[in-house]
């Protein structure tokens, strides 16, 4: 009978298409919303991803990587003295305005890495070399920065180009590739010593201390020890990542906005599919009544409806997921839209689709449970 159920479903091409399209639409909305949410959240923690350090130490009030509460330079030395720490270097991060040669301004995220070790340097260099940072007034710009600067200048920007940061000259000595940040401005890398000169002078300048581990020491334990001995906030890389993510979830409307998209996707999917499936059952009322009259039990008829609904759901889910994946690849390639499609996202949407299918099937089952087989004898 299950084969018959599928044949009945596939036989009504128009209805089948409509049922699938509802699920496809719902899958796209929900998966896309989830992927955008994960993408945005990953962008909020971009600096952590780009810098890559086992332990991050910050002002005790800091909860996320975008929060800049400067510390004293001597704090790096204090961290270095804690048991289990093999090295500790300063990191500077702030948002600045770069003035281009045509007078136009471009917002950038200035990152100052340790001059001696270059810890926190960009992982992939597209042009030039990291060592060039040791030359006077040198900066490394990201590929996205090249794109933004070139747009404003009207010509391709590359190595040797100059611009101003707070009236100080900056010379491009390399182009790197890093993940884009949440604030939208491109990253600009230089040494810590030079970064504090580019930035407006404050009493304290150091944003974070990055620390490494001695062999045989655990990151969590060492971070707790740093906190206890220095009074500063110390996070492992993973802890800082999740602390940043949770801060944005708690303090911004992003989850609500994207949650609404996902909810609308679910509601639209459930409404369209439920209605279409119910219409499918209604149109087949006499045939289903005939099957009941011929001795098919309500349970078996219900199982047939569940099979039809789940088949539609899985087909629509597969197509929807395929569309989102293709779209996502294009978005990732463009680098303009945050997009992270996790398997957990797919699994949750798959579960939501199953719920939609069950709702649809239950509407049909409620109808056939009430259906009197005697209906087939009425003209």
């Amino acid at each position: 009978m299950f084969r018959l159920a599928l044949r009945m479903l596939y036989g009504d091409k128009a209805k089948h298409l409509m049922l699938i399209s509802g699920i496809v639409f719902a899958t796209i909305l929900m998966t896309q919303g989830g992927a955008l949410f994960c993408g945005i959240m990953s962008w909020t923690a971009t600096t952590i991803h780009n810098v890559r350090a086992p332990i991050w130490v910050a002002d005790p009030m800091v909860e996320q990587v975008g929060d800049n509460r400067p510390m004293r330079d001597t704090d790096a030395t204090r961290v270095r003295s804690v048991e289990g720490v093999s090295w500790a270097v300063p990191l500077y991060q702030s948002t600045q305005q770069a003035k281009l040669e045509n007078g136009k301004m471009q917002m950038v995220t200035l990152v100052g890495i340790d001059s001696a070790t270059l810890v926190g340097a960009p992982p992939i260099m597209l042009e030039g070399s990291l060592e060039e940072l040791r030359r006077p007034n040198s900066v490394i710009i990201t590929a996205y920065g090249v794109e933004q600067f070139s747009k404003k200048l009207g010509r391709k920007v590359g190595i040797g180009d100059r611009f101003e940061l707070n009236d100080r000259e900056a010379i491009v000595v390399g182009v790197c590739k890093v993940q884009r940040g949440f604030m939208g401005g491109p990253y600009l890398y230089t040494t810590y010593d030079r970064a504090v000169l580019y930035a407006p002078m404050q009493r304290k300048m150091m944003s974070f201390v990055l620390a490494g581990l001695q062999d045989g020491h655990n990151a969590e334990e060492t971070a707790r020890r740093i906190s206890a001995e220095t009074g500063l906030a110390a996070f492992t890389e993973k802890e800082f990542f999740w602390s940043t993510i949770w801060w944005y979830i708690r303090n911004t409307p992003i989850p609500i906005n994207i949650g609404m998209i996902v909810l609308i996707g679910f509601i639209v999917g459930a409404a369209v599919s439920g209605q279409a499936f119910y219409a499918f059952v209604l149109e087949n009322t006499r045939n289903l009544g005939a099957l009941k009259a011929m001795g098919l039990s309500t349970w078996r008829l219900s199982a047939m409806l569940v099979l039809q609904s789940v088949t539609v759901g899985m087909t629509g889910f597969g197509i929807g997921l395929g569309v989102v994946t293709i779209l996502g690849r294009a978005l990732i390639r463009s680098g303009r839209v945050p997009f992270v499609l996790l398997w957990q996202n797919c699994a949750i949407v798959g579960a939501a689709v199953i719920v939609i299918c069950m709702i649809s099937a239950l509407m049909g089952i409620a109808r056939i449970a009430r259906l009197e087989p005697a209906i087939v004898f009425r003209s």
């Binding site: 009978m1 084969r3 044949r7 006499r286 099957l291 001795g295 005697a374 087939v376 004898f377």
Partner: protein
């Protein structure tokens, strides 16, 4: 008055003092009022009467798809009035064949699949069910149309498919609701020839609800209904012709 049958031969079904009404209060409508009759194995019995006299309700109760308010329904030795819903469902799948006025063929599956439905309900495998369905279609002259969708067939052909579906699992009781009302004379005759042939098979009973006088002569007996009762049962062509000279 209720008719009784004097010649009781191996009863296929027996209805005793059946009562059935619908609605309550102002909308209360009595449909069957102590209806009583019997049918034998190996006969084609027609149930006739004017519209609204309760024929379809009686057929539904016979089929076990509707429950009588009062009375007894014994079909092929099974007391339908005492069976649960699931027992009646199982009973229908094994013992009854149905032919509906509007054919009720599933339009999205092919003719052979439609015919195989009763076998699939009984749990037979797809391949064997289809093989038997095609063989039954051969018997009703539609073997070559097995792969076509029902809507590509004429009304007469669709009703022949419905007959094949009703007979494919070899049920001892076949219930037909106005099988010729949607057909022209030629197709009506073809359909009744098939039903007559089916009734001739040993141990089988065919009950035809109709008000089509063109087919009265196919009946072995005729039960006439009026106002929710069976008021007369006619036996044999002569007696039927006497009371219904038009056929």
């Amino acid at each position: 008055m209720n008719a009784t049958i004097d010649n009781k031969v191996a009863g296929a079904l027996e209805l005793k003092d059946l009562c059935k009404s619908f609605g309550s209060g102002l909308s209360y409508t009595p449909v069957l009022h102590k209806a009583h009759f019997e049918a034998r194995r190996g006969e084609l019995l027609m149930l006739v009467g004017p519209s609204g006299c309760g024929k379809t309700t009686l057929l539904s109760i016979l089929a076990g798809t509707l429950h009588a308010d009062e009375g007894e329904v014994n079909v092929l030795g099974h007391p339908l009035h005492a069976l649960s819903e699931s027992q009646r469902t199982a009973f229908r799948s094994k013992h009854l064949g149905f032919i509906f006025q509007q054919f009720n063929l599933i339009p999205t599956i092919d003719v052979a699949e439609n015919v195989s439905v009763p076998l699939l309900i009984q749990g037979l495998g797809n391949r064997e069910a289809r093989r038997r369905a095609v063989a039954m279609l051969e018997r009703v002259g539609l073997g070559k149309r097995a792969h076509e969708k029902p809507l590509k067939l004429s009304g007469g052909e669709q009703q022949r498919v419905a007959i094949a579906r009703a007979l494919v699992h070899n049920p001892p009781l076949v219930l037909c609701d106005e099988p010729t009302s949607a057909l022209d004379s030629e197709n009506g005759v073809a359909v009744m020839e098939l039903l007559r042939e089916a009734a001739n098979e040993p141990g089988r009973t065919v009950i035809v609800v109709t008000h089509d006088p063109r087919i009265y002569h196919y009946a072995d007996r005729m039960a006439e209904m009026e106002d929710g009762r069976i008021f007369r049962v006619l036996s044999g062509a002569e007696e039927i012709r006497t009371h219904h000279p038009a056929f």
